[in-house]
């Protein structure tokens, strides 16, 4: 199963942290710090896999991908395939990109709750739930629509509506 999903920027600031196993707040911070220290010691053009057993315990693997100013990190165990996880990160980012149109760190920062909604559509309770970004977008749109309907506040982010107009 997937143990955690982390998004942090190149300075080590967490942008999104989701742990699928219960961890205390302090422990989470420690893990984030440790992950970051590993990531920033990695040279460029090396593999995207890191042995994370020293951070997350037995059998933990870590796959990360560096996008512009952000690291996307998935931590998981041996029941997942590393390359597939790498693509799952890509699915996640592509989905974000469609939602926010040319996603950048700023979108990630300001749409904190939406990030979680998207992630929840892709990974559910530590298992990969959906891998088609089109399907995810569909679900997200529907959620936004229904939320908007139940709420006078217009919260459909313009980027989604704009994307649909494309």
């Amino acid at each position: 199963m997937i143990r955690a999903v982390l998004v942090m920027n190149t300075q080590g600031k967490p942008r999104l942290a989701k742990f699928y196993e219960c961890q205390s707040v302090e422990k989470q911070q420690e893990l984030i710090r440790n992950v970051f220290s590993v990531l920033c010691s990695r040279a460029e053009n090396v593999s995207n896999f890191v042995d994370a057993q020293s951070i997350f315990g037995q059998d933990a693997r870590l796959v990360y991908k560096h996008y512009a100013t952000l690291y996307f990190v998935f931590i998981f165990d041996s029941s997942e395939n590393e390359l597939a996880m790498l693509d799952l990160i890509q699915v996640f980012v592509e989905t974000l990109d469609k939602c926010f149109r040319n996603v950048c760190e700023l979108d990630v920062v300001y749409n904190y709750s939406k990030m979680h909604t998207i992630l929840d559509e892709i990974i559910f309770g530590g298992q990969v739930l959906e891998t088609s970004s089109t399907e995810v977008i569909k679900a997200i749109e529907e959620i936004s629509k229904l939320e908007a309907a139940s709420n006078s506040i217009n919260l459909v982010p313009k980027s989604v509506s704009a994307w649909r107009a494309r």
Binding site: M1, P14, L16, K18, C22, V25, Q28, I32, R42, A43, N45, V46, S47, N48, F49, D51, S54, Y67, A68, T69, S79, N81, E82, L83, A84, L86, D87, L88, V91, E94, L96, D97, K98, N102, C104, E105, L106, V108, V109, Y110, N111, Y112, S113, T117, F124, G125, G126, Q127, V128, T131, S132, S133, T134, E142, I143, L146, E147, N151, P157, K158
Partner: protein, 1001 residues
Amino acid sequence: MGSQGGFGQSKEFLDLVKSIGEARSKAEEDRIVLHEIETLKRRIIEPDIPKRKMKEFIIRLVYVEMLGHDASFGYIHAVKMTHDDNLLLKRTGYLAVTLFLNEDHDLIILIVNTIQKDLKSDNYLVVCAALNAVCKLINEETIPAVLPQVIELLGHSKEAVRKKAIMALHRFYQKSPSSVSHLISNFRKRLCDNDPGVMGATLCPLFDLITIDANSYKDLVISFVSILKQVAERRLPKSYDYHQMPAPFIQIKLLKILALLGSGDKQASESMYTVIGDIIRKGDSSSNIGNAILYECICCASSIHPNSKLIEASADVIAKFLKSDSHNLKYMGIDALGRLIKLSSQIAEQHQLAVIDCLEDPDDTLKRKTFELLYKMTKSSNVEVIVDRMIEYMINISDDHYKTYIASRCVELAEQFAPSNQWFIQTMNKVFEHAGDLVNIKVAHNLIRLIAEGFGEDDDAADSQLRSSAVESYLRIIGEPKLPSVFLQVICWVLGEYGTADGKHTASYITGKLCDIAESYSDDETVKAYATSALMKVYAFEIAAGRKVDMLPEFSLTVEINKISFNGHCAFVYALEEHINPCQSLIEELLASHSTDLQQRAYELQALVGLDRQAVESIIPRDASCEDIEVDKNLSFLNGYVQQSLERGAQPYIPEDVRAGMEDMSNFRGQDKHESSQHGLRFEAYELPKAPTPSKVTPVSHASPTDLVPVPETLYSRETHHISSVASASEAGSSGLKLRLDGVQRKWGRPTYSSPTTSNTSDSSSQKPVNGVTQVNGASAVNSKTRDSYGSKKPPVEISPEKQKLAGLLFGGSSQPEKRPSASHKVSKANTNAADRSQESNTAIVSNEVAGEKTNHQPPPDLLDLGEPTVTTAPPSVDPFKQLEGLLDPSLSSTTDYSAGASATTKAPDFMALYGETTTTGISASGGYSIPVSGEVNLLSELSNAAVSSSPGETIVTSSSHPVKGPNAKDSLEKDSLVRQLGVNPSTQNPNLFRDLLGRE
């Protein structure tokens, strides 16, 4: 747009994010966050907060907690929000509680009710949100409360709900298998769901179940195979395609399941061969996800009953992986090789060069994986090279966890395959020297045991050669600064036991070295204890050999007295040597040590030196560390002694259980003191040792019944005999002389060598030996166990010529299958390298051409490599535009059709523009933006300036970039202006925030 903005957050929140983003230090960030917490604390309890505002507060709380600060004061508000009827608020509430609370939190009880209600809701989004919370928050106790609803939802009309219900059930199963064990059949049922998404989700729990018990699911093999077949044949809806692969994640899961089911089951495996073969054959190795499937196929093929065709196909795929430039693929290739090597060891042979390349790769992850592979393929013929490499690597890593791991691997391989004793000892020395205290203490004990026992052959000459080479190497190493404690213990023990054995080194040389150790590592009591005991042994051997011992001047007095008391027995004369001996100061220091253990050892040493030859020989016999000891459990050798004491009016011994029932304990107290001392642990661990002055002359003040003074000579020798056997027992226990400490350690439950205590510790004339003996009795079971383990010698080192040849090939040319020094390895390796390379280069060229062709026909769909230099450095022979069109826009990538030329042309400008934009950010560091932007600066002009200034280098791109920088830059500008509208001024760091994540540059 309005002031609310597309981000749906207020200015306050944006300001918070911005100020945190610009905080220069952790302290500053903390200050900002703490201030925010104060604000939230104050405002969140205000009455009549608009709901929308409340929602934002909750989001801000989540944000604060993500930054590592305590937001627990707001948990209750998040819980309240889950009760709200408004969908948006409810979802926000659920999001917050799943992030805030863990399954054992007190507030969960307040949510369970809401969850129950929401699971029944008509709105499927509410149900989904509730299911989401169920996964995270429901614990073993609350499962029954929601279980019926979740089961019901398995038949919900919306597939999204069914999917999540399955996941929730799976989660229940993970948390408490017993509570849902009767519902497991539901997973099987859902496997036949109409919706592929639901079916795919079902594979997760089934995978877990099959991992635990494959046999109960053998009947599903056919179903899984047919599903996999259908998926691979693209029978699923197009929407499940990912990068042109049909439902790759489902395929991977299925392959994993098949690997489990087919493992060790020929019949099941046979039904899988066709489909796996098909998938490998059709496999698309140009995309990342295609490779993921191929890799999974290899895993599956290596796990199920072997099939030569599949293995062959897998080997081909591995070859492709290893030849790839991508580190990821190399990594997968090495991993796959490690799996396949079990089935056919020739495969590694084909890829020796690739493996060696990976070993030398700067990428740490790849290196480690390669070591893993080497570990698997280690044989007696290549162990030297492999272990050398491992140690070399180990020296340079700072990660303790991994260092420990690789050190233990080295030790394991060395123990298993060591070609010679000498090499083994040298290797162990290196491991100890560099990994030091990270090495398990047991390894040290094993090493000691090995040196003591030799390699098991009855070849004394070889054994003693081994020992002297160990001694030599240790004497060399001793000079190194900062040796780890464990290693020093080994050194001390070996020097003490064998330092003077071959006569090359004089006792005073060895003792000098031992004293040096004790002095330079004076904080380490264990080392000091080992050193002291080693000193004692060296002296004992000296005395036993009839040589004189030059020790402390004080001893001369004892010696004189001894001479008098022993009269005829005294066979030699101790000289009163006055020269300064390092031992003198050491022993003096130890005599006054705070550690009772050290004190005791020092006193014992002092006493031992004062004994005569016969006694010393009995106490510490030479080279007896491996002797088995026979323990006289009844202490019959003391019978005569006890008898004597009784005759003299001593109280008879009353066993403890009987004694406990007695009313008047005080009667027995005096006796207890001596008699109960047989239960030595309590007694010894805490009591300071008395200075055991030689009893023959110093009458012991109290008439202890166990006092040895009146023992007649015959009894004395009998006793010492037993003591000596104890001593040898302790040494056999290979923690050697650390006996007393071990006794203490065992009290704390450490399962280390629980060797008998005291034994060697005592002067034969003190009352301790009695203790020692009784304790040995107690520990005899342990002893016999230790002895048992001696029986299990290392497996005989076998060298099959064919394997030797392989190793020769792998690490240095087939011409010389014998072992060579590693230097020549390298030379020959280089030779073969060159040879093989030239041979390979042909194929490489061919494959290059193939690759080239491929790229021409079809842009590489591997979008993961978007930002990598391969794009910009693409050879001009490839049509740049065609290349770009595939790479520019990720939105394109997910649309399954790549041939959309029209859309590509429209996208191209898009990309160009972004190129300009990103360069801006690159430049901003050096100038431009570093001047604080004062609000109304025209960002667009800056952007274009930057783009122009950056253009000259990139001929292809810039030619078109300038005129068409459009939509994307506009996007970020829009975002920028949006932020401005909200009153947040982007300053220094913000340009980075606008950088496009997908790096369209």
